[in-house]
């Protein structure tokens, strides 16, 4: 294209020169329309929601497939039995009468679609063959079993990996298949956990090339660098992280953990600088100053919401506990990816979707301790404090002038279940 023919005509030259200086400021809705067009609504929130719902459904579905029965046996010398059906819908209590004293077998029925009499009879016959064969009658045996329904009329009793059970030579004729042995392993080793951790977020400024002094949340700290003097104040904000994880037992007290987690971080920062300075921790001001698009502000606020997805990988140790209560301590490292960021600053005409200048990949570490309580239906509730620290700055130097470290203190609320 041979653009710009020779403007030999002075009238044309006049028109061109005059109109060149003509500018109009578009309305804010124009940018919003452009933005919505070039950035169609993100699929990831819906995708994440679906994944969580799917895991949730699986989580609810798992108890329906595994029939967990607790047997508590006292006395192992039994000759006669009598089965009494408890009036409770989900709980059956059988009495086994021997020559000298009563022995109780308590079965807690988790799945209501199993016929109660069949379950009780089955458990009774199995335990009769294996346990009541001349062992020490004073020894207490607690045996966890999983009953897997093979067909409508046949049930398999699968003892958990309990050495004591083997010692009693459980003669369970129908659990010799591979499926049963797989179930045996899974039932012991894996746990699925859903959790949410609301908490308070803090920001700590650190040294960078242009800024030499740090500031800690809630404290004004001045920073004099090559470009001017800055003051940055970060407010404590309410953050949230939520996700799911699979925990695998590798020994009696140690288990490994891996999962996926969404971190919501809110940054609320006020930065002040002189007319020649850039902000310490405010990418918007730094960006605007560098681009000279806006007048340099003596003070500005930066209010951003960051959405990270992370993959926590770590380990947990059981400190102490019993059948119901357990106390754990754990730690994870979390490679994290910044999926989205939205911010609004006081000098922008629009809400800013500000991934610009923000570090996409980061690394978090969290340490936590929590207690768990196991309900009768097998669901385990978790509650405890958690501390998470972000190792790398939120901002991506050298694009931005400031650096920070974020940390978060929260309360973990979770539910988990064996599968």
């Amino acid at each position: 294209m041979s653009r710009f023919h020779d403007h030999s005509d002075s009238f044309e030259q006049f028109l061109k020169e005059t109109t060149e200086s003509f500018c109009m400021k578009p309305g804010a809705k124009v940018w919003n329309s452009i933005y919505n067009n070039i950035h169609p609504r993100k699929k990831w929130p819906a995708f994440s929601t679906n994944v969580i719902l799917l895991f949730g459904l699986l989580f609810l579905q798992v108890p329906g497939k595994l029939k967990v029965v607790d047997l508590h046996v006292e006395s192992t010398k039994n000759k006669e039995t009598a089965i009494q059906k408890d009036q409770s819908e989900n709980e059956y209590e059988s009495e086994i009468r021997n020559n000298t004293k009563f022995t109780k077998i308590k079965t807690i029925k988790i799945n209501s679609d199993i016929d109660a009499e069949v379950v009780s009879d089955h458990i009774y016959s199995e335990t009769k063959q294996s346990i009541f064969d001349g062992k020490n009658e004073t020894e207490k045996v607690v045996m966890m079993t999983e009953i897997d329904q093979i067909d409508k009329n046949k049930y398999t009793v699968i003892p958990r990996l309990n050495p004591q059970v083997k010692n009693y030579n459980l003669d369970v004729k129908s659990y010799t298949s591979k499926t049963n042995s797989n179930n045996q392993k899974q039932g012991k080793d894996y746990l699925f956990q859903l959790y949410a951790t609301p908490g308070f977020g803090f920001s700590q400024a650190v040294e960078s090339e242009q800024n030499t002094n740090g500031s800690i949340t809630g404290i004004n700290t001045s920073s004099t660098g090559a470009l001017g003097e800055n003051n940055a104040t970060s407010k404590t904000t309410l953050n949230l992280e939520a996700g799911g994880a699979v925990l695998m037992n590798v020994s009696r007290i140690v288990r490994l953990k891996a999962g996926m987690q969404l971190n919501y971080t809110h940054i609320d920062e006020n930065t002040s600088s002189d007319n020649s300075g850039t902000s310490l921790n405010n990418p918007v001001v730094a960006y605007n100053t560098n681009s000279q698009m806006f007048q340099r502000e003596k003070s500005s606020t930066y209010n951003a919401e960051l959405y990270q997805i992370s993959v926590p990988i770590g380990t947990e140790i059981e400190i102490t506990g019993n059948d119901r209560f357990r106390w754990y301590a754990g730690a994870t490292i979390q490679p994290s990816f910044l999926m989205n960021a939205e911010s609004q600053d006081e000098i922008s005409i629009t809400n800013r979707d500000a991934l610009f200048g923000l570090r996409k990949w980061n690394l978090n570490t969290s340490v936590e301790t929590y207690v768990s309580y196991k309900l009768k239906n097998g669901v385990i509730l978790n509650l405890g404090p958690q501390f998470r620290y972000q190792w790398l700055s939120t901002y991506n130097q050298p694009l931005m002038s400031g650096m920070d470290r974020l940390y978060n203190i929260g309360l973990k609320l979770g539910v988990s279940r064996n599968f």
Partner: protein, 188 residues
């Protein structure tokens, strides 16, 4: 922040870089769209479509000329394409409307000179002002304009001649034209 970095940021769909480009060039581009449009609202629609194309095709910018020039070309082409959807430029355009313009001269607002000139251009019939914008301000040749508007080259020349004549009259009446141009025009 260098322009190269921002361009690569836009190619990577960096949202802040995209906004930076918009903030920097949208006022001038809206001024250009305004010269082609019937109203400010139409101009903003043109600007919107133009910038969407800029973001979609910025990877084609090779750095041969200025970024502003490249954006301007994309925006002008967008304006032309939008106008072509509703207007046949091959028509003998709006002569009756053009004749009535003489009574409109006096309503041209007296803002700054650039604003006055632009408003005068906008008073021209759409075909006239499109050819005038493309030839006198954007610098396209009549052959190129003929191709863009799908008209004969001679039509482009004649429409430009009429547009120029009409605009000069308006600017003279408003006393906007510099003396040297005014004198030249009056002599011709």
């Amino acid at each position: 922040m260098t322009e190269e970095k921002m361009i690569s940021g836009i190619i990577d769909k960096n949202k802040a870089a995209q906004e930076w480009l918009y903030q920097k060039y949208s006022p001038k581009m809206l001024g250009i769209c305004y010269r082609y449009a019937k109203s400010r609202m139409d101009a903003e629609d043109m600007l919107q479509e133009g910038f969407i194309k800029v973001y979609q095709e910025i990877h084609q910018y090779r750095g041969d000329g200025s970024l502003e020039g490249w954006i301007r070309r994309v925006v002008v082409n967008t304006c032309i394409n939008i106008l072509k959807k509703t207007k046949k430029f091959s028509d003998t355009i709006d002569i009756s409307n053009a004749e009535s313009l003489h009574s409109s001269y006096n309503i041209v607002p007296s803002f700054i000179q650039a604003k006055q000139v632009v408003e005068c251009i906008r008073l021209l019939p759409i075909g006239y002002r499109t050819v005038l914008n493309l030839y006198a301000i954007e610098g396209y040749s009549h052959r190129e304009i003929a191709g863009m508007l799908e008209i004969e080259e001679s039509t482009s020349r004649s429409q430009y001649s009429r547009a120029k004549n009409m605009l000069e009259h308006m600017l003279i009446r408003l006393d906007i034209l510099p003396e040297n141009i005014k004198t030249k025009h009056q002599n011709s």
